[in-house]
Amino acid sequence: MTTVLASLNQALRRSLTASLDVMVLGEDVLDPYGGAFKVTQGLSSTYPERVLATPVSEAGIVGLGVGMALRGLRPVVEIMFGDFLMLAGDALVNHAAKFRWVSNDRVRVPLVVRTPMGGRRGYGPTHSQSLEKHLMGAAGLRTVAASALLDPGPMLEAAILSDDDPTLFVEHKLLYAQQIGAGLDGGEYQVQSAGERYPSLTVRLAGAPAPRLTFASYGYMAGLALEAIHRLAYEYELFAEMVAFTQLVPLCLEPLAQSVRQTRALLTLEEGSGVLGWGSEAISALVEELGPVFDARRVSARPVPIPASLPLEQAVLPQVEDLVRAALAMSNSDRSGSMRRSNG
């Protein structure tokens, strides 16, 4: 068994070994510290020329990465906390995401920006957010989120070595210590994978009745969804399946469409706030694809800053209990087809 942390670390190491064009940059990434979350541990000792500690300078170092990528390198920039990405918004939105297309496909920007997102560590309002939704609308930027359900190492490696477009690689802080595939390897779940480089997984309890509800999620929330699926089945005999995404943008809808065609009920789960979030986008896109033939709700953080205190933080961020409650409410209200009715 490997942790997410070890897998990401090994992916960085393999990438540095595979190509002299790969460089890893970020604040405090050098040994012996090895990065605030230790993802770069050991790398600078082996590759001192290609692992660089940078100033506290997010706009500078993400822009630096764009320039490096435009001139043939394959840089990986670590942003210590995802919250700090806002400082690099110009580099990501106005530069990284633009050059390939605006140049009429004459140049490429093979840049990876990795960053931990998410709360549940008591770090408070500016070190706990899930801000990826603010960048998901930038055409030309791919957004990928690691989860512990599927080994994120090979995905990071592919993003670095094979993907010629800029990629925002999101790592929820609580994933680092998790064992990869821990919940899925006992044969309790039936798992179906779709897509190649950044696959999505469709997960349901093996041998259970046909699911009546679809969870759509990613990242750390996908793990919580798995717990919720288990509890809903054993405590309430409500059977749900989950589509867990790795690539958030562009969103490949097919696995979700397949599931929702059967269940006619969709619950999207995200740790960030819900307004104009990933769940909103997934639901809208699916309505366009399938028509208004399913019931849909979103579970997300409450729309306030994330507080530092444990009970307050727990109340603001979605917990397994919230998922269970939302699923039950949806099942009981039996609104399935309500959109169709209101439309007809």
Binding site: G63, M68, A91, R142
Partner: protein, 306 residues
């Protein structure tokens, strides 16, 4: 190439930029273009004096006021005209327009300051090939924080970037005394970046300064800076000029074309002027005849990969 930088050639290069941009401003009301443009009429000596010395493979990073830099870099005038007209044959097939020009070793983008970290990153990549990066910025850009992050990184890692500040004394319409505190060279000195400063529009003087700066860079000096106090006669973009006409007239006394043109004999100047007139005319005619960018050419913003 330095060998080709005869006084006559310098005059020709500046005149190409001047006549190109004058044509743009003249033709705008005729509906040849869509959108906007930023010209640098009066600033031609900077682009020509510095970029005339560029060696193949050396990178240029430019800003919104990029036509002069692009032409002095060696970019195609016809492709530039076509880009401004949104033609399929434009530098970027009509996707970039006046302020987003991306060519082999040339990168211009329209967000001030944001290009400088890119320039420093490019220098980090180019150091492996013993190439350097020439990055242009204006006085208005000195208000952007990304500039100082870039100077810090470039100096810290001794990266081969030549920062060329074109101080045309205005940030769009705001005069420098309302937007900038302190002295411009002090900004570079604070990071230990050697800086030269000159109030000049003389292309020979600028060329000499750039020659020594580029020479130091090519010998591994680390970043260098050149501050050129200049002036643009044209508005910031098209119709937004609120400056006192007497001020503009005063600066016209040191029009770089007048200053340098006076060094040439009229009989040497005239054929150059005729040739440039012809070149500019042909560039715009070719661009106007080119097909407009086709909506069918719109490709996805990302390559495939799921």
């Amino acid at each position: 190439m330095p060998a080709e930088l005869t006084p006559a050639e310098l005059y020709r290069q500046m005149l190409r930029i001047r006549r190109f941009e004058e044509t743009v401003l003249e033709a705008f009301p005729r509906g040849w273009f869509y959108g906007t443009t930023h010209t640098g009429i009066g600033q031609e000596a900077n682009a020509v004096g510095v970029l005339g010395l560029r060696k193949p493979g050396e990178v240029v990073v430019s800003n919104h006021r990029c036509h002069g830099h692009f032409l002095a870099y060696g970019g195609s005038m016809t492709a530039l005209a076509a880009e401004l007209m949104g033609r399929a044959t434009g530098v970027c097939g009509g996707r970039g327009g006046s302020q987003h020009l991306i060519d082999k070793d040339f990168y211009a983008s329209g967000v001030l300051g944001g290009t400088l970290p890119l320039a420093v990153g490019m220098a980090l990549a180019e150091r492996r090939r013993q190439h350097l990066v020439i990055a242009f910025l204006g006085d208005g850009t000195l208000g952007e924080g990304a500039v100082y992050e870039s100077l810090n990184l470039a100096a810290l890692w001794r990266l081969p970037v030549y920062f060329i500040v074109e101080n045309n004394r205005y940030a769009q319409t705001t005069p420098i005394h309302l937007h900038l505190a302190g002295e411009i060279p002090a900004r570079f000195e604070a990071f230990g970046i050697p800086v030269e400063e000159r109030d000049t529009t003389d292309v020979l003087e600028i060329r000499d300064l750039a020659e020594s700066g580029l020479d130091r860079l090519r010998r591994g000096s680390g970043p260098q800076a050149l501050v050129l106090h200049t002036y643009r006669f044209s508005p910031h973009s098209r119709g937004d000029d609120l400056r006192d006409p007497r001020e503009i007239e005063r600066f016209r006394q040191r029009d770089p074309l007048r200053t340098h043109g006076a060094r040439l004999r009229p009989e040497d100047r005239r054929p150059i002027e005729a040739e440039v007139e012809q070149e500019v005319h042909q560039a715009f005619e070719a661009a106007r005849a080119a097909p407009v960018a086709d909506a069918a050419s719109i490709t996805p913003a990302l390559g495939q990969g799921t």
